[in-house]
Amino acid sequence: MGELMQGSLRSATAGAVTVLAVLFLVLPLAVVVLFSFHETASLSFPFTGFSLRWYESVFASAEFREATKNSLIVATAVSATTLVLGSLAAYGLSRSDSRVRDALALIFFLPITLPGLFLGLGLLVFFVGIDIKLSLATVAIAHFVYVLPYFLLIAKAALDRMDPAIEEAAADLGAGPWTVFFRVTVPQVWPVLAGATSLAFALSFDEFVITFFVIGPQSTLPLYIWSGLRRTIDPSINTISTLLMVVTLALFAIAFAFTLRTERRRDRAVPALQVPA
């Protein structure tokens, strides 16, 4: 890393832009959290005082509890399914190298490129067309399609980065393919898989755009917020929002930590392969 001379001014400017951007991204959310503790029902400054009243009223609401429960159910089902099917798919994609693989990879990663609106509408049309009633199950299916590519992206990248020599050594010592997978590969990459699953959970928990179209009479937490946004104008919305953010942020932090841990482990394990920058 060189000390590019007049670049320090440029770096300082870029740094300033970064600071402003981070503030731009974080402050609005901080304001939402702040007002969830507001003493009065007002959503504007001045901020009069702290109170937990909105938290009390929200937790007391049966609809809120129902919506949260539904979100948890769906997210759990989705992340579990994604973990199993996604790990297998990522391993399959990573360890093969035919042109069929490239075509398959295209299909797997296509959903990311499509706006959620079309995904949701497509599924709505599909379910109605083959006469499946809209419910939490249809939501779970939709979430699975939405979440899988993200999971695959992370898992496949980690599997690709893994040193192939390790699996070859295991095979050489007599381990069959499944043994290799469970005794050698998984112990190597499980933190990444855990992180990706955590991410899948967070993505499903917060999903709104697609859910809006494929849900039945029930509600998930984001949908509950949506209906609240059309109705009430008091800090209870801030409260629910804060709770939702806390959950997804915690899950994301877990995912981040797991991914970091794998990077560090890998770097420490093969110091000889580290090339000086």
Binding site: G2, S11, T13, A14, G15, V17, T18, A21, V22, F24, L25, V26, P28, L29, V31, V32, L43, S44, F45, L85, L88, A89, Y91, G92, L93, S96, S98, V100, R101, I107, F108, P115, L117, F118, L119, L121, G122, L123, V125, F126, I141, A142, F144, V145, L152, P177, F208, V209, P222, I225, W226, L229, I237, S241, L244, L249, L251, F252, A253, L260
Partner: protein, 304 residues
């Protein structure tokens, strides 16, 4: 040493090859089937709907292009398309313009701040889509943070009404939503661009502007163009932001599409608008790829 004895039975090479390349792909089968049934098929069905006859919240038999006629003929659709293009371009431009220096800083000047800042930026991506739009409603409103702040500082007598429920508020919210994503894509694009490359350029006499023009921009062109286009289409298809903070002038095509399905009941028209939108996007993407290919910037082969 004994001669090698031939048993007369050699394993065919082709079969072996198939076993190592095809067998792993079998593992992808469950997930692939899931996607095939619940993604490819629905999408195909959805697009087919655009050529069916409209019923009320349903479709019926005869194939017809009347939905496209309605889609292209309704004046509102044209207005919304233009509005979506405008807002989309604004959002994409602003996002890319800000993300470039941020990604640059993260790559070359961040030092030990790289990880914490990356975390903060990515974390904001996970702070819930709905909540972020809602947050801007409170900030930009007549009683929101900005107006109250300006009033208390004595800079204005009345709250500024032009901050909310228009194109401006929608654009700001979209930038807020997509900025982290573009930063990550550009940061990934900057990764292989080692400082040695920039030092080489500097050593050969290029000043800062020349380094940007001749080294950085060509190498970052592909990721920047792709993320620009994605922000564009994701913005145009957004139906939540306009409904919450768009007012009357900040409407996007996504709202209209969604309305056709949930409110109006003209499914073929909704599908037709969607198809036209996707076609336009694919066309833009194709043109961009062509341009990149002509400039030989589409597939940079990095040598470590």
């Amino acid at each position: 040493m004994a001669d090698i004895v031939h048993t007369g039975r050699a394993t065919p090479v082709a079969w072996q090859e198939a076993a190592t390349t095809v067998r792993p792909l079998l593992l992808t089968l469950p997930a692939a089937l899931g996607l095939l049934v619940f993604f490819v098929a629905p999408l195909a069905a959805f697009l087919v709907y655009s050529v069916l006859t409209a019923g009320l919240f349903s479709v019926t038999g005869p194939l017809t292009l009347s939905a496209y006629g309605r889609a292209l003929g309704t004046e509102l659709n044209g207005v919304l398309a233009a509005n979506s293009a405008l807002i989309g371009l604004l959002a994409a431009t602003a996002t890319t313009a800000f993300a470039l220096p941020i990604a640059y800083w993260l790559r070359y000047a961040a030092g030990r701040w790289q990880l914490p800042v990356l975390f903060l930026i990515t974390a904001s991506m996970f702070a819930s889509y709905l909540v972020r739009i809602y947050a801007w409603r409170t900030i930009l409103g007549a009683n929101g943070v900005i107006n109250r702040g300006l009033e208390s500082l004595g800079l204005v007598d009345e709250p500024l009404g032009f901050l909310l429920y228009n194109r401006f508020s929608v654009t700001i919210a979209l930038v807020h939503i997509f900025l982290p994503y573009v930063v990550l894509v550009l940061f990934a694009g900057f990764r292989p661009l080692s400082p040695a490359l920039l030092e080489s350029a500097q050593d050969l006499g290029a000043d800062a502007w020349q380094r940007w023009r001749r080294v950085i921009m060509p190498l970052i062109a592909a990721p920047a163009a792709t993320s620009f286009l994605f922000v564009l289409i994701l913005s145009a298809s957004d139906y939540v932001t306009p409904q919450l903070i768009g007012g009357t002038s900040g409407l996007l095509l996504g709202v209209q599409i969604q309305a056709n399905f949930k409110a109006v009941g003209d499914w073929p028209q909704g599908a037709a608008i969607s198809f036209l939108m996707l076609a336009a996007f694919v066309a833009c993407y194709g043109v961009t790829l062509l341009g990149l290919r002509l400039l030989r910037l589409d597939r940079i082969r990095w040598v470590s």
